[in-house]
Every structure is written in structure tokens, then in C-alpha cells.
Symmetry: C2
Subunit: 195 residues, 2 copies
């Protein structure tokens, strides 16, 4: 519900039209997660259905103006003071590694290596991006820098976790908890893994 909530929050600054909301969203998040215009309109439709926004006619230029309702204002206030519960959200990477670790014939070291390369590349790109950025002089630039730094912190933690997992798994392999696939000519071809 993050797009939905964000659009609602932007509307709390005052009425706006659909296309404008896309621009505001992209501006405030620095284009990190580009938003398809179509999504803005479908989201606005759902927000209207739920009584959180109203179509308050048109502005001077004939564009459809959306305004927060009282319920919408309340929702924004509630959103702002309610912490994001990350523990409830499924973590795609953690899930993948956990499942993979329980599968026989999976080269965990390789999987971790691949993921780390990808994450490190991302990390480098982020570092470059941050270095190129000037000191924020507007609220939007500040917001964008928060986003970039969030990704940096997260990517760093991810690499550390991968390193840690690699060691833990290596130890488990030594203790015979999980196996490593044999490296043979045929191991690159389709291999059936009977239970």
C-alpha cells in the first residue's frame, strides 16, 4: 500500500490532478521508483471508491482536481504515526536462501556469490550516485538523498549478511548438515534429484 499512501499523503498538501501527482511522486523520490501514470489513475479511482478523495471539479485549465476528504486526512495522519512493520513483510532474498539451503544438490556457495556480486554492483552504483550528488538544497533533494542512503545501508547489510551466511553454511557443510553437489560434466545438464 505504499503507492496508495504516498499519493494520499501528497494530496494532503492540497488538491492536485493525476498527472501532477506522478510528477510530485517522482520528484520526491528522485525517480528511484518510477511510477506509471496509469497507476496513478487506477489508484485515484480506488481512493475515491474508498471515500478518501473527492473529485472536486476541474482547475483553471480543465484538469480533474482531486481533494482529500476528512477520512482521507485522517488516513494520512494515521499513516504518518504508524510504524512500518517490516517483520510481517516477506523478504524475498531471505526466503530464497532459506528454501535453497534446504534443497539437496544446490550449490549454496555459488548462489551466495552471484547474489553478492549483484548487490556489490548495486552498492557501487549507489556510492557513485551519492558522490555525484550535491548537498541537498530543497526538501525534495533531501528526500531523495534519504532514499539513496536507505538503499546504501540496506545493501551494505545485505552483503554482510551474505558473508555471514556463507560462513555459517560452510560450517554446516563441514558438519554434514547439508551437502554440496558433485562437480561433474553432467551436473550442468538436467539432473533429477529424487527424494
Amino acid at each position: 500500500m505504499s503507492v496508495r499512501s504516498s499519493l494520499l499523503a501528497i494530496l494532503s498538501e492540497g488538491p492536485a490532478y493525476g498527472y501532477q501527482l506522478r510528477g510530485e511522486f517522482d520528484l520526491r523520490t528522485g525517480g528511484t521508483w518510477p511510477l506509471n501514470v496509469g497507476q496513478v489513475y487506477s489508484t485515484l479511482e480506488r481512493l475515491e471508491r474508498d471515500g478518501l478523495v473527492d473529485r472536486s471539479g476541474s482547475d483553471e485549465e480543465g484538469r480533474v482536481r482531486y481533494t482529500l476528504t476528512e477520512a482521507g486526512s485522517a488516513e494520512v495522519r494515521s499513516w504518518l504515526v504508524t510504524p512500518v512493520q517490516r517483520q510481517a513483510t516477506r523478504d524475498e532474498l531471505a526466503m530464497k536462501l532459506a528454501i535453497a539451503a534446504t534443497l539437496p544438490g544446490v550449490a549454496m556457495a555459488d548462489i551466495i556469490q552471484i547474489q553478492r556480486s549483484s548487490t556489490l554492483a548495486h552498492l557501487q552504483a549507489l556510492t557513485r550516485t551519492k558522490a555525484d550528488a550535491a548537498v541537498p538544497s530543497t526538501a525534495s533533494e533531501l528526500a531523495w538523498s534519504l532514499v539513496v542512503e536507505s538503499m546504501l545501508f540496506q545493501a551494505e547489510a545485505e552483503v554482510r549478511w551474505l558473508d555471514h551466511s556463507e560462513a555459517v553454511i560452510a560450517k554446516a557443510v563441514r558438519r554434514g548438515l547439508i551437502g554440496v553437489p558433485a562437480i561433474t560434466q553432467s551436473s550442468t545438464a538436467k539432473t533429477e534429484v529424487p527424494r
Copy 2:
């Protein structure tokens, strides 16, 4: 697509029936993200629709048995060697803070404080959980410990980022980039923020 991929991956160990898949999933992820049984069946339906699994009759006890197809096997192999692209995924918390930072009349310090309390509580719970856990003696227990540690690393990074953001924002406030809401009797009541 993480549930879908995980179920598919579990099936790569051999045929299984719906209810069993739920159990396997919960076991391997340590019940961290409990899976509604209904979701297993709807996911299996979609996997069958996409030609990744087949209903291979019933097992000895009359339970519906699902088997991976060749395409399904290929999909699993592909999933395992493809890194998770986190940069493309929207980060709910980063988005929220970024949007909030651009809104006038928002007490960023309070929002960050609330989030940090929540994350720290989560962190404590995780630390306790980990301390209570024995050294993993099966692949499933190992997988679960990876999940817990992933959440630990992530929560720690989150707290560090929140601390960092707090400082950055405080500086921005001092530089007049963003404002702080006045603390008045009426500021708890509905306040209109004209643009």
C-alpha cells in the same frame, strides 16, 4: 513471486500434495511467514495453468500429487542462479520517510522516533529468539537461522539509517530546508495545510 517460486523449488525435491507443501514451507522458514493453505492451492492452480507443474494422479492415500514439469525444473534452476534485484523493489519505509520529509507541518523527528522504537522492539525480540535457539542440527533449522539473522542484519541497518536520517534532517531544519510544526494546543486537532 516469492511464494510461487518457493513452492516450485520445494517441488523440485519430488512430488508433493498441497497441504504438505504448506508444512514444508513453514518448516523451512521456521514459521516466520506463515502461509495460508488456501494460497498454496491457488498458487498451484496458477503453476499448473502456466505448465510448470502437473497433477500426477493421487498418492497411496488419495491425496492430489503435484509434479514439476520440465519447464518447471528449468524455472527453478533459473530462479536459483538469478540474483534478487532489490533496487527495483519499492522500499515502503524509505518511500514513507521521503514523502513525509517533503510535506509541510510534519514532525519528522517524531516519525523517526516512532519507527525506531518499533524497529528496536523487533530487534530485541529477534535477539532473544536467536539466543533461545539451539545450534542448528538440520537443514531446516539452519534455514530458519538464516532467516532470523537476515532480519537481524536488516533491523540493525534500519536503526542505523534512522539515526543517520535524524541527523541529516536536523541539519536540514537548521538550514531552513524544511520546517518543524509549531507545538500548539491546536496542532493535535485537524489542521489544514494550504499550498
